[in-house]
Symmetry: D2
Subunit: 381 residues, 4 copies
């Protein structure tokens, strides 16, 4: 695994725990952790249970005993590493966003397609697809329980930038993060809408905005936290993105991604309305799915709160009995299960790099629409 | 109408509004308001739209142009007035509780039975039966949608006595109020459970308690509000009642009535669990009913929030379109509709005085059980 | 009062009930009901308690005993009646939307301004301003409890057109209704956002859309209900409107108005986020306001559900005790109170015709933006 | 670790994961798994990551390289194993209930007290104390934010026995399980109330009941699941327990434990009301705590939904960022942290065996009260 930030901890937990619950066809070993600083990488490796650590990711790619490369670095390094890893014949799991630019994502997708011909698998880490409730939502749509999709609302609301003195971290610099609320959390909303509805966005109209243009530089610390200093730097990504998209099936979907919605901590919410029903998901209550069945007797219709914790709900069988909650990190174990099984079975894991590229194109179209007065902007591919 | 406190305002609104929405077979006229003080009664009569006012209820009973007597005085006066009114051939609507003692309630029920032989109707004012959601709940049980009733939970939670300096009003004096939380609000919970389940309580075990034994006397004002003075008086009714009852069908029902549940303002909640489903009602969200249908596919089961505002829901047709809320006072209009229609049709209106007597017997059994170490106590009748 | 549809019933209830609860400086009498059909108008007049009925509204304007004209007809007739009424020296309460076109609304506003110089009052019927929870929301913003407004989300979601066979009524014809979801319910959302934030929209970008272009004509009935026939007609208004606006203070506000959100019956929801707090309102739970106070200790912050039923909450004093719910129609009584008091006090009632004109201009700008590829469109005035 | 059922999986996850997130003073090694069947125990050991497996727990107690014994067997075997382990100088973590009888629990508590003199630690596995929200609730009470405790409501609602054909498993046999809903889930409610309030129950009045007396025997399988056969056996434990208790501070607390509340999957709910505030917890939304602060301005009071996911909330620091949810199993990691740290620091871990004994005495008193007509029954100790 390459990278050892917050995502590194989450992915490590996935690799560690998945074999203990799922019956995997092969049990992956946690071999090498790669980072920039040898000391902090070594410390993380020991903490998280990786056998070795190194600062040289290219050397790792040359090793025969490495089959899978998991990339959890910032987005600006994804393309180089992933393309090299695929060329080296390694299966690649790449954290989202696939890349910081459409061009990088296109190159990666091309590399992935070529590798696939040689049986090499690749996947993007949109882990919210692995929440049982979202997969169950997709199943309900696929089964036709909602009828024709008529409207979609998607929002990802956080509030950690409401404080104007919250310090400037790499997530607020375009060079490293590529994008702000739009790419960091909006991307999840886009992927989830496309996953649940089974339809892709074809065009968008929207606006992005930076509400606080300068923030104090970090006095110390390099991650997401640290002490604010006296000097200020420019925020070069958006704080907020509002856009409307047209789905392949014709329905309009409205999106909101923000780090400025006071009181909302991690509210990734999707509501899909169809001719026969509707469903609503909220990541802050991730073990629940609200389902409205418009085919029930009229007087008895209502949004029902389904606790998605039954043995036969998606991903649930190896976990706990009915009514026992899963948390954030379970998506990473479920993701490991899906990826390892796809590698073993020779099937194509989703979301593919092509899926990741499409999300990147949507993000790009939103930025271009915003720059052009919110004019409707088509999405290629 | 006799009495002009808070209930007088609510009943007046019922008489005033019902004919404007329902198609009543006859339109009742708001003739005479009766009270103790001629000036305040006259003021209320003008305010609320009664044609006349008086302090002599016996004189009103002798008038031929009066067909209906609506009693909204404190409970200690109900028996005398109601029995006299029935003897005078008036139809009687009596606010709950039917009386302050079982003996009074028995006499009233006997008088009502005799009057019924002469075509005179009587009814008790448990208006929460007239909330569309509770009547719809009863309908679902009656239709068998819940299967066999296995468990019931009923609570009526308020917090207006949490403040130890809240002044002593008549509702805290046994002579006038008869009972405290138990009789004032617990009675509603009992009636509603029996209404929704269609079963009567056969025995109870419980405890009642006064948490704050002395409170400041009112310096001025006689109603439920007023300024607290320097002197203190004894609270002679309960603040809190907890009891368990056995329903006719065999299920246990647990009850809680309290004026000490901090943060709960008017939370009359009923949850009924059966072999095929369950439902939950909360008066603080009185336009909603939660319904769980255990016959749905297992993966899709969940409590659904039904907005009980459809045209075909109980009582809704004459009111507003779907999704437009009713409030507290609508129960009084619905009650007027039911009572007037029963009088016109010659049918027996419910809840009858016999129903009210039964509730009184439950209250009495709870008090006796509490005095005897919570031992199970049978309920007569 | 001119007009006797659904709004006629609601306004009548307001005029009937307000004097029974509020201490009005003068008690308005329900004099004349005006409609097109003499028989149905007479029936409504008797039902609702108007002393007389007529089909000639011009004649009513000439009567000296008429002081107030309440207009509840479809929007295409508002301008003619209101301007004539103001010219005749009558105080005018005009149901929203103020008019079907900006030009009409401008003429009305001009007439209102001239009439105001003669002490004649006018007001628009955005009754959701009269819900205690929305007025309390405004108060919290005005008191600075939210700090600077950073983001607003407003939606008005209904689902009564999801059924493609729902018949074509006047609300789906541009000639009479002027607009569809946008003008009918979106207008409420716009007014409420401007009311609560105290800021006006300055520009918008949006899209409106008709999802079902043809619907069965009514076989019989003329109102909102009736039996669908075999013939079809064109829906000439929008079913759905999505737009983003820029408020005077700089914040972006996103709006959604739809009759196609399956399972949502009357969900007018407003969420306002500020630098110090946030609040959320949902008309389906109209007695509640969610409030988030970001100045509380960090570990204790959360959206709190305030039951807006305390004696000292806006409009509540004359109604029921704490925890007893108000419903849809109470807004109309509260509106009567505000209007009558403003007439008596000689103050300027809000929302004024100028407020209504502004809403009309927003609607117009949304339609023009939609027609121009969602380009940002400034709002005059 | 001794035992390898559902609890074995949960405890294994705790031992596996805790060192990867917390900074433990020593890192425990997962040495030996003990079970009855050598093959299934070996399979579980490999699956869960235990180095060895055996069927002889006594032999394990003799090993010098074993410092901690974790007991997750059914309750009837706890006393023998725990007493022997303590005698052998092993620190003991014993899953709840401490034992199946008061006598066993007393012997264990005595053994724990003697072992404590030698520096040997013991703890009971009430893991719901380790949920951040419940610990935060305890903190709020301890800080006086609720004032004097006036009332408590506790319920643990499940519905897995509503189906009369659900097969008879060991949890329904008194010999192994000791108790039914009362001891299995009611024990959690009792412990949590005592933990959060800091007060112990002094007496109880209650009723327990078996709603379905006979159930089909398992055709195969020995755990909690399996196929129902044609033969029937007696259910010898309760399905339902309702009781009221008096806390040390004087307040009444009402309890309900049931496997028959249709639609409730794992609803462990605690509501504590005090003179200055109230709080409510629901295990089905375990990352949330509702808090009502009665010292706020009256118009702004309401239950606030606190997402207990901040860095400074109890147990949260080593886990994920704000708004990322924890699940059921995290309590087991938190428990490992607390136990290992107490062993290392030489402090006394809670809940102690004495705490477990007290819960056992409450359960016993409820059973005796139920057998004696619900008469109030004191609790020793």
């Amino acid at each position: 695994m390459i990278g050892h930030g917050f995502m590194g901890a989450a992915h490590s937990q996935g690799w560690r725990v998945a074999p203990r619950f799922f019956d995997l066809p092969v049990n992956p070993e946690m071999a090498v952790l790669v980072g920039r600083s040898s000391t902090s990488t070594a410390a993380c490796a020991e903490k998280w249970g990786w056998s070795e650590s190194t600062t040289d990711w290219r050397a790792v790619l040359e090793r025969d005993d490495i089959d899978i490369v998991d990339i959890v670095t910032p987005g600006d390094t994804h393309a180089e590493i992933a393309i090299a890893a695929l060329a080296a014949g390694k299966h690649v799991l790449c954290e989202k966003p696939l890349a910081n630019t459409v061009a990088e994502a296109e190159a990666m997708t091309e590399a992935a397609a070529q590798a696939a011909d040689r049986g090499i698998r690749s996947m993007v880490g949109f882990t919210y697809r692995r929440v049982p409730a979202t997969t169950f939502a997709r199943d309900l749509v696929a089964l036709g329980r909602l009828g024709d999709i008529r409207q979609v609302r998607a929002e990802y609301l956080q509030d950690w930038l409401v404080d104007e003195q919250a310090p400037l971290t790499w997530r607020m610099k375009k060079e490293q993060a590529g994008s702000g609320a739009l790419g960091d959390i909006g991307a999840h909303a886009i992927d989830l809408v496309e996953y649940i509805t089974g339809q892709r966005l074809r065009s968008v109209s929207g606006v992005i905005e930076t509400l606080v243009a300068q923030r104090p530089l970090l006095r110390e610390g390099q991650g997401l936290t640290g002490t604010a200093g006296d000097e200020y730097g420019d925020v070069t990504v958006d704080d907020l993105a509002l856009f409307t998209g047209r789905l392949g099936g014709g329905a309009l979907a409205s999106f909101e991604a923000t780090r400025f919605r006071t009181g909302r901590k991690n509210a990734l919410r999707i509501e899909v309305s169809g001719s026969k029903g509707a469903l609503a998901f909220d990541l802050e209550r991730m073990n629940e799915l609200e389902f409205y069945d418009a085919t029930q007797p009229e007087l008895e219709q209502g949004f029902r709160r389904v606790l998605v914790t039954e043995h036969d709900h998606p991903y649930l069988a190896p976990w706990w009995p009915t009514g026992h909650m899963l948390g954030y990190e379970h998506g990473f174990s479920n993701q490991v299960h899906d990826f390892v099984r796809a590698i073993h079975d020779g099937s194509v894991p989703r979301p593919s790099f092509a899926d990741g590229l499409h999300v990147q194109r949507v993000l790009d179209a939103v930025e271009r629409s915003s720059a052009a007065g919110s004019i409707w902007t088509p999405i290629a591919g």
